[in-house]
């Protein structure tokens, strides 16, 4: 299972974060919220300076492109735990 993180951050911002924290996985940049809107995850005006951002969500997608597991939190503080995601990937 390959983790892929998606946000509105510019590639350079994600690259800095990746280097700083040492994440090895892929970061994708969606500044125009194209993928975010396609997944119906737009949180209008919730970012810095009223910028549109993604609401947090996780999707496990199998090789055929089918969603196998999805988690849409009701609370920004509460995200999927790594054990939940690993269990879903099994």
């Amino acid at each position: 299972m390959r983790p892929v993180a998606i946000s509105v951050d510019a590639p350079q911002v994600s690259e800095n974060l990746r280097r700083k924290v040492g994440y090895k996985f892929t970061f994708l940049s969606d500044p125009n919220t194209e993928a975010i809107r396609r997944y119906d995850l737009l949180h209008k005006g919730a970012g810095e300076n009223g910028r549109d951002v993604a609401r947090p969500a996780e999707f496990l997608i199998d090789r055929s492109g089918t969603v196998r597991w999805a988690n849409l939190t009701e609370d920004l503080r509460i995200r999927a735990r790594s054990e939940q995601m690993l269990a879903a990937a099994r």
Partner: protein, 134 residues
């Protein structure tokens, strides 16, 4: 210090607030339900009330107690109402549905599609949408 209860309660209330975001937020067990911070706030409130009761200067100590309890109230608001203000997301792909494809730039500025990611990941892809880093 003459009225240590009042001041201990006030400091504890501030500490209970800050420690959630500075420390307890890191661990799911103390983040999802902030029980450690609630305990700290309850102790702080007991100390503040005891402080006011023992105080000779009720107005002054009452203000301190009010501020300490206001921090508690703000914390409750922050973790129950504020972080739950999320838009509905009925159109998000459900389990069993096809995940919509997309083309985005990776952190090196290279164009990447979901199809290509899946093709190179036999065990599938875990998409994690997040609010961004600032």
């Amino acid at each position: 210090m003459k009225n240590w209860r009042l001041w201990a309660g006030f400091v504890l209330s501030i500490a209970a607030f800050i420690s959630y975001f500075a420390f307890f937020y890191q661990f799911p067990i103390t983040r999802d339900v902030p029980w450690v911070n609630f305990i700290l706030f309850v102790v702080a409130t007991v100390l503040l009330i005891a402080g006011v009761r023992r105080s000779q200067r009720k107005i002054w100590s009452g203000i301190v107690a009010f501020l300490g309890i206001a921090v508690f109230a703000f914390f409750v608001f922050a973790v129950t109402v504020a972080t739950r203000r999320l838009p509905p997301s009925h159109g998000a792909p459900h389990v069993g549905q096809k995940a919509p494809d997309f083309t985005l730039l990776d952190s090196n500025g290279k164009s990447v599609t979901l199809t290509a990611l899946l093709a190179s990941s036999p065990r599938g892809v875990l998409l994690v949408f997040y609010r961004g880093y600032w």
